[in-house]
């Protein structure tokens, strides 16, 4: 069997969230032909879920802000294993990328003097997040989507990529299938950009949509690309915990940015009890100072609820385990209390956090303007991903680029809230620019028909097994349970070794997965295809986490609860070997230039 159709582009972008769309815009503006493959309909990508805002040191709300402060905040948040060059580029270029969105029609919230308003967020020293209420992701994706509409980019909606195919060691194209008809399509391109987002669906409790199955990570890995930092998963501290069917859905950090506080069942603001030493100089001494910070008093320091996500998530976990949790196994997040401080608090809350108001009202029958929410940690983001060159975003496979969540480096061991949306537009643009540059000087590669056919036949195998095979949904559920329980927010050697053993079993079961019916819009078949990607990502996460025998950022081990200086000198890399096994190695960090080191030191006070 052969592919139904073959498409050729100069640049092929896989993924149409913020990074993919921004890359497509840049490449199209450079005058090359661009194809864009998206797993869902255009404009539905997971970027839409981003709430709080995008971080850019525009200094509109506090003129002490600058790229240097943003850079130092990002490095501190990432526990200094970030790719410093990416953190530098990101901090310097984010303001221009945000302003560009306004020129394309985005309508951000305004300051009193009519500029883009910026809000406080965890780990950011000054108010830095350009935002639109709590639906900033929607604004970003719609702006980019509408702008792309007029650029001649060919969009292939509801297409899923099955395999990345190389030609003499270079990225040459992909095999994909369209969900509507179940037909196979081959694509060749002179440069390919992965912008496929995260892998949260490897875990049971997650804020990620069904699409977050680590496709780009796994496609690149199977083709031989190097992944790094896969042990660093961000568990967002505040996901919904009740009712059960919405467990994991995100509650924006913006709630805390607007004055929301965390309390345990005893009514105590437990975040004041555990403030890490390196954040003490920047953290409020008492609730009163914290409130003044929320009210943008420049002499006040931020409340401990706005410490980095890894730390807040662990504190919540500890409260729940100590029996001081809320009725449904979370803690209380209270924004209603601000009525003690300001007049018309309910109106203010609804204006600043409309989606949150709506979400709790409709899904949990709870009015956040009068009642505290119940929240707990949820798998939110993967810092690890495809290793890329900081400037060009090219991976270790020539011709293959990556941007956004599926690329690694900028966030180190922990991502600051708000740095993701700005990451998408800063590095999406760069990936598009450098991919177009490469395309202009390259020949159209040829796809190996044999490789296309092998991938195609392998993907159809579940139909041959039919209902007699393993139920793919069941394998996915078991995988999610295992990763949640054994490689979750608190890890140890024994449990992770058990996870690795279980993964081998899941791989074996996945290879026997069967599905009935036709190829048209068959969710079961799609789950079979997703499973391979989830399994590859899960293995990389577990093996990397075993290798890092310390605790740092999103990676916490109760058998090695402390940070170890030696482990701060390298990233952990995973790569596929010729025999199909995964090789784990340590990749030394590049020396940070003296001037950037000085910026970090200056900001430590």
């Amino acid at each position: 069997m052969a592919a139904h159709a073959t498409y050729s582009y100069d640049v092929l972008v896989i993924g149409a969230g913020g990074a993919g769309l921004r890359a497509a815009i840049e490449a199209a503006n450079a005058g090359v032909s661009v194809g864009l493959i998206c797993k869902s309909l255009l404009g539905k990508a997971h970027t839409v879920m981003a709430e709080g805002g995008m971080a850019a040191a525009m200094a509109h709300n506090d003129d002490r802000d600058s790229w240097q402060v943003h850079f130092a905040d990002t490095m501190r948040g990432g526990q200094y294993v970030n790719n410093w060059r990416m953190a530098e580029i990101h901090a310097k270029e984010a303001p221009d990328r945000v302003r560009e969105l306004e020129a394309w029609g985005a309508v951000f919230d305004r300051t009193p003097d009519g500029r883009i308003n910026q809000r406080n967020f965890g780990g950011h020293r000054y108010p830095r997040l350009a935002h639109v209420g709590d639906r900033t992701g929607l604004e970003l994706i719609r702006t980019l989507q509408d702008h792309t509409t007029y650029l001649g980019v060919t969009v292939h909606m509801e297409h899923t990529v099955i395999e990345l195919i190389l030609d003499g060691g270079r990225a040459a194209g992909v095999l994909a299938y369209d969900r509507e008809r179940g037909r196979f399509h081959a694509f060749t391109a002179k440069a390919i950009i992965m912008a496929t987002g995260g892998a949260g669906r490897a875990f049971k409790i997650t804020s990620n949509s069904w699409e977050g199955t680590g496709d780009g990570h796994a496609l690149a890995y199977r083709a031989g690309a190097e992944l790094i930092d896969m042990e660093f998963i961000q568990f967002h501290p505040t996901g919904m915990v009740w009712p059960p069917s919405v467990r994991g859905i995100l509650v924006t950090e913006g709630v805390r940015g607007e004055g929301g506080v965390l309390r345990n069942s005893e009514g105590r603001r437990f975040m004041f009890d555990d403030i890490p030493d390196n954040y003490k100089p920047q953290t409020a001494a008492d609730p009163e100072e914290g409130w003044r910070y929320v009210m943008q008093d420049k002499t006040a320091r931020r409340p401990p609820e706005l410490l980095t996500r890894d730390h807040v998530a662990r504190c919540i976990n500890r409260e729940v385990k100590a029996g001081r949790g809320s009725p449904h196994g979370g803690v209380f997040l209270d924004i209603a209390w601000i009525k003690e401080k300001i007049s018309d608090a309910p109106g203010h809350i609804k204006r600043k956090l409309p989606s949150m108001y709506h979400q709790f009202k409709e899904l949990a029958d709870l009015d956040i303007t009068t009642t505290p929410m119940e929240v707990g940690p949820t798998t939110h983001y993967i810092m690890g991903g495809i290793r890329v060159d900081a400037d060009s975003q090219e991976s270790t496979i020539p011709g293959l680029f990556a941007a956004g969540e599926c690329a690694a480096g900028i966030n180190g061991a922990n991502r600051l809230g708000g740095n993701s949306l700005s990451d998408l537009i800063v590095f999406g643009k760069r990936a598009g620019e450098f991919a177009a540059q490469l395309a202009r000087k390259s020949e159209q590669p040829k796809l190996d028909d044999g490789a296309v056919e092998r991938a195609l036949n392998a993907s159809l195998a579940p139909f041959e097994r039919g209902n007699a095979g393993e139920n793919p949904y069941k394998v996915q559920h078991d995988l999610q349970d295992a990763m949640q329980a054994l490689v979750g927010i608190v890890r140890n050697e024994g449990e992770m070794q058990e996870a690795v053993k279980k993964l081998a079993g899941f791989n074996e079961r996945a290879s026997r997965a069967g599905i009935d019916g036709h190829r048209e819009y068959n969710s079961g078949w799609h789950t079979c295809i997703d499973l391979r990607n989830l399994l590859d990502c899960s293995e990389a996460i577990a093996l990397s986490a075993i290798e890092r025998k310390e605790s740092r950022g999103g990676h916490f081990r109760d058998d090695y609860p402390d940070k170890v200086a030696e482990f701060g000198t390298f990233n952990i890399s995973t790569r596929r070997q010729a025999d199909g096994t995964m090789k784990v190695s340590r990749l030394p960090l590049k020396e940070i230039p003296a001037e950037l080191k000085q910026v970090i030191e200056e900001q430590k006070q």
């Binding site: 539905k44 839409v48 394309w104 305004r110 929607l138 949509s209 859905i249 969710s523």
Partner: protein, 248 residues
């Protein structure tokens, strides 16, 4: 644990023949219709087609007609429905069926392509930026809450009953046009298109679109009626017509 029955539209590929199939499944506290559909998919009908993404009312993918009402499956709680009867779940009727609950909404993307894009005025400041007051963007921000679920298109009788897809852009794109027309920075003019190409006059303000909007956008009152007024003022008001004749 209690049970509920769902009467779900199942079709042959290509949207040909189809019929309702009843599925009975266990339900628990807080579940929404999409949870039930997923449970049925995982346990009884693995090839059941349904479109969804965020499961939090933010992406607008899981639009369907539940007991005859256009709604998002992810925001329809089971405790808001009468579970003594089977819950009917069927695809949006205004768009061609692909399979089961999934429809072909590509017409909407084609319509957007035909509309004039955002065209900002010259920047206000030397650094290439603009100044806008919050009160001047409030209205546009309301319109930009749209999640493109296309439920308003589904319910609009001009499209649903009269099939005017070639002549009429529907509430979603009247809202989109309003967002551009009322954008403080936009400098283009879409009134001629609204009157002649997009046929805003077909809308007779039954407000069905507003009623089904999951984002509670006042589509009719805040977007369509003001646009209609602008069109009337420009093209049909005798005083302005007279003035135009005099001033040329």
């Amino acid at each position: 644990m209690s049970q509920a029955t769902f009467r779900i539209w199942r079709s042959e590929p290509g949207g040909g023949s189809g019929a309702f199939t009843n599925y009975t499944t266990e339900i628990s506290e807080g579940m929404v219709v999409l949870d039930a559909v997923h449970k049925i998919q995982a346990e009884q009908a693995p090839d059941l087609a349904c479109r969804w993404n965020c499961k939090a009312g933010k992406c607008g993918s899981c639009s369907a007609e539940i007991n005859g009402k256009p709604r998002l499956m992810c925001m329809s709680r089971l405790n808001s429905l009468d579970l003594n009867e089977p819950v009917t779940v069927e695809p949006m009727r205004t768009f061609p069926l692909i399979k089961d609950l999934v429809t072909d909404v590509s017409w909407n993307f084609r319509v957007k392509k035909g509309l004039k894009k955002f065209k900002p005025r010259k920047p206000d400041a030397a650094d290439g930026t603009w100044r806008m007051a919050q009160r001047d963007v409030d209205r546009v921000q309301e319109f930009r809450k749209c999640i493109e679920c296309f439920l308003c298109q589904d319910v609009c009788h001009v499209l649903r009953d009269h099939d005017k897809h070639e002549e009429f852009i529907g509430p979603r794109f009247l809202l989109y046009t309003a967002a551009l027309e009322m954008h403080p920075l936009d400098s283009d003019d879409r009134l001629q298109d609204l009157k002649d190409k997009n046929n805003i006059g077909y809308c007779n303000i039954t407000k069905c679109c507003t009623k089904v909007c999951p984002e509670h956008i006042h589509i009719t009152d805040n977007a369509i009626i003001p646009l209609k007024e602008r069109v009337v003022d420009r093209f049909y008001d005798p005083v302005t017509r007279l003035l135009r004749m005099i001033t040329g």
